[in-house]
């Protein structure tokens, strides 16, 4: 009795083990990420997305006539496991990698893929340095990086609002100051020098001195990094002083509560915020696919980004008609793919173009997307 149970268990373990290894198909999609541990809820939706994409592509004839198989590797979002996972993927002879999930493990595994000429695309690693540093030409992602908001704000401020002398104010916090610093960096890259870069104290009784300073600096627009309580104080004191210059802020301000608090002063305020993807045709397809195969449950974190990444990778192989590294990279940069997060291709640094943030403006008491 005991021995048969043991045999059964060994058999079961071997089945699970052999599931991940690639032997039958020609194209191997490696999926490393947090599949167990406390961050598994970030990694498992990516596995589901990869399975669903591969299933539907295989059913419609595969990629360039070849079937796609998956190779799953768990890194628990730990950098030290990520290098192991990467080595295992290499021994499975993967053609492309969908992952990793967290920024730290991604950074740890990327040099290994780079040496073996493997494209790696993450659905969820947002650390700006992954693409901005230029160290990893083989890295791509379908999620907007933390600095993308700043880049968008800078672009919008200079090209759409035509600001020549912006004042940049932040709340000294990690999030608000980070946004302000990235925005300033991009504004300077465009050859515009901010006239003011300063932090205000959250919760202070009164911001009129800062507002006077903005006024005295001759700023033609204010860019604010932070959350809505401070933003509403600054903007309402500006409006009280009859300053009508544009006010642009981040997704910490793109909330109805900001409009409720700031009242009339909120009218005309610009804010960047996550793009609305629910209108995309592929969004609906991928959502339906998930619900059909999961008894109507909602997909978890980064499901749509992972679905988009899997599609982008496999379509790039299809477009390149090859699994050659250079050709895949070329295809990712030139070929537009219809995905749940929109119609995307990738820029030279590896960030998806067309993903991320939109600019909204308060009109008649609600945020409306600025086209």
């Amino acid at each position: 009795m005991k021995r048969s149970l043991l045999v059964l268990m060994v058999a079961a373990m071997m089945t699970i083990g052999s599931f991940g290894s690639a032997s039958a198909g020609k194209i191997v999609l490696g999926v490393p990420g947090a599949h167990s541990g406390d961050l598994a809820s970030y990694g498992l939706p990516t596995v589901e997305a990869a399975k669903l994409v591969v299933k539907s592509i295989n059913e419609s004839g595969g990629v360039n006539g070849e079937q796609v198989v998956l190779s799953l590797q768990d890194d628990q979002c730990k950098p030290e496991f990520a290098t192991n996972a990467a080595m295992k993927l290499l021994s499975d002879q993967v053609n492309v990698v969908l992952g990793h999930i967290c920024s730290g493990p991604t950074k740890a595994a990327l040099p290994i893929y780079k040496e073996s000429n493997l494209v790696c695309m993450s659905p969820s690693a947002t650390s700006p340095s992954l693409t901005l540093s230029g160290d990893y030409p083989n890295f791509f992602r379908t999620i907007a990086s933390d600095d993308a908001q700043g880049a968008l704000a800078a672009m919008f401020a200079i090209e759409k609002l035509g600001l020549k002398k912006p004042a940049i104010i932040h709340d000294k916090g990690d999030y608000g100051k980070g946004f302000a610093e990235y925005t300033m960096k991009y504004i300077k890259e465009k050859g515009v020098e901010p006239v003011l870069f300063e932090g205000v104290t959250p919760g202070a009784v009164d911001y009129s001195a800062v507002v006077q300073k903005i006024k005295a600096s001759g700023a033609d627009g204010v860019i604010f990094g932070g959350y809505h309580p401070e933003a509403s104080k600054v903007v309402s004191q500006m409006r009280k002083k009859k300053m009508t210059i544009p006010f642009l802020s981040d997704d910490g301000v793109k909330a109805q509560t900001f409009i409720d608090i700031a009242g009339d002063a909120a009218e005309g305020v610009y804010a960047t915020g996550p793009q609305d993807i629910t209108g995309n045709p592929m969004y609906k397809v991928s959502l339906k696919q998930y619900k059909d195969s999961h008894y109507g449950a909602e997909p978890g974190a980064f499901y749509f980004e992972a679905y988009s990444a899997a599609l982008a990778l496999l379509k790039a192989i299809e477009y390149a008609k090859s699994t050659d590294y250079d050709k895949i990279v070329e295809a990712l940069r030139t070929n537009e793919v219809e995905t749940p997060v929109g119609k995307i291709k990738f820029d030279a640094k590896g960030d998806a173009i067309g993903v991320g943030f939109s600019v909204y403006q308060v009109k008649n008491g609600e945020y409306v997307e600025v086209k």
Binding site: K172, E198, G199, V200, T201, G203, A204, V205, D206, Y207, S208, A209, V210, Q212, K213, K215, A216, H228, P229, S232, K233, S236, Q237, K240, K241, K242, T257, D260, I261, A262, G263, A265
Partner: protein
């Protein structure tokens, strides 16, 4: 020069608010040598009452000028009742206790009131209507002193003059000064000390409530936590001017407001608090009793 004046008035507005709240700290300390840490919460409660009353009056269509007066009066009454009650239940039973006990009781009261308002109202920020009607009497210099800055400065000035007159010339004022000098002797000459202490709390709370309504209307938002930072700043102002001294609280408030305002204007608002508290440390090094704090003869 215009920029200097703008910052001057901006600091004056802020300083007036600090001074209004600081008076409560300094008076209570002057009389019973207790730092009433729940005082910032009284200011916050005053602002909340102002919001509720203003909301009700607005829905009945009262004119703007009457709303701010009625909302302030309601806030004063309500906050005064709170001040009176807090003294009764949290400090009076501990009057003979070691000095640390009422201090801890005050901190407890402060946390209790914050949480009470958070649970009974909301932890979100709430929009406060602009109760001070817009008017322009300075023409192109309006940006220096807006209508709400003007009202705050004038109200604070009037209140302070009135308070000084009250302390100097009324019976209760004399009793307060006497109690501050020596509580036992005051009792012996027939002053009802309990009544004097209650009056001190009531007056201090009323002033904080006025400050609360004015500043909430000035910046347009409140939540349950605003009393904490305002309280710390006002307490700093009171210590700066010499805790226990009424003119000291006013001077301390204004100096603190100007320090912050000029520092923001000429250095950076990043260092606003750094300069404010560096000033406090410097003054305490060279004048440990504060700017106007003297030997404890005239504490009120």
């Amino acid at each position: 020069m215009e920029y200097f004046l703008e910052l001057f008035f901006s600091g004056l507005t802020r300083g007036s608010i600090y001074a209004l709240i600081a008076l409560g700290y300094t008076m209570v300390y002057g009389i019973i040598e207790l730092i009433n840490f729940a005082h910032g919460e009284i200011y916050m409660i005053g602002a909340f009452v102002g919001l509720v009353v203003a909301g009700i009056l607005t829905s009945f269509g009262f004119p703007a000028a009457s709303i701010i007066v009625l909302a302030s009066i309601a806030a004063i009454i309500y906050a005064a009742a709170y001040g009176y009650t807090i003294e009764k239940i949290a400090y009076r039973p501990l009057r003979g206790a070691p000095r640390l006990s009422p201090l801890i009781s005050a901190i407890g009261m402060s946390i209790f009131l914050q949480n009470y308002v958070m649970l009974s109202q909301t932890s979100d920020f709430l929009s406060f209507p602009n109760l001070i009607p817009e008017f322009n009497f300075l023409g192109k210099y309006e940006s220096m002193v807006g209508s709400s800055d003007f009202v705050i400065i004038v109200v604070a000035a009037v209140v302070m003059v009135a308070l000084n007159l009250f302390i100097k010339f009324t019976r209760m004022g004399k009793a307060m000064r006497a109690t501050a000098q020596n509580r036992k002797m005051a009792m012996l000459v027939g002053i009802n000390v309990d009544q004097v202490i209650s009056a001190t709390f009531v007056i201090g709370s009323a002033l904080a409530a006025v400050g609360g309504v004015l500043i909430a209307s000035h910046i347009g938002q409140i939540n349950f936590f605003i009393g904490f930072i305002a309280g710390i700043k006002a307490f700093t102002a009171a210590v700066l001017g010499g805790i226990g001294s009424v003119p000291g609280a006013m001077l301390g408030g204004l100096i603190l407001g100007w320090t912050e305002s000029f520092c923001t204007g000429y250095v950076s608002s990043d260092y606003e608090d750094v300069f404010a508290f560096a000033l406090l440390v410097l003054i305490l090094i060279f004048r440990p009793s504060g700017l106007l704090g003297k030997a404890p003869i005239q504490k009120v």
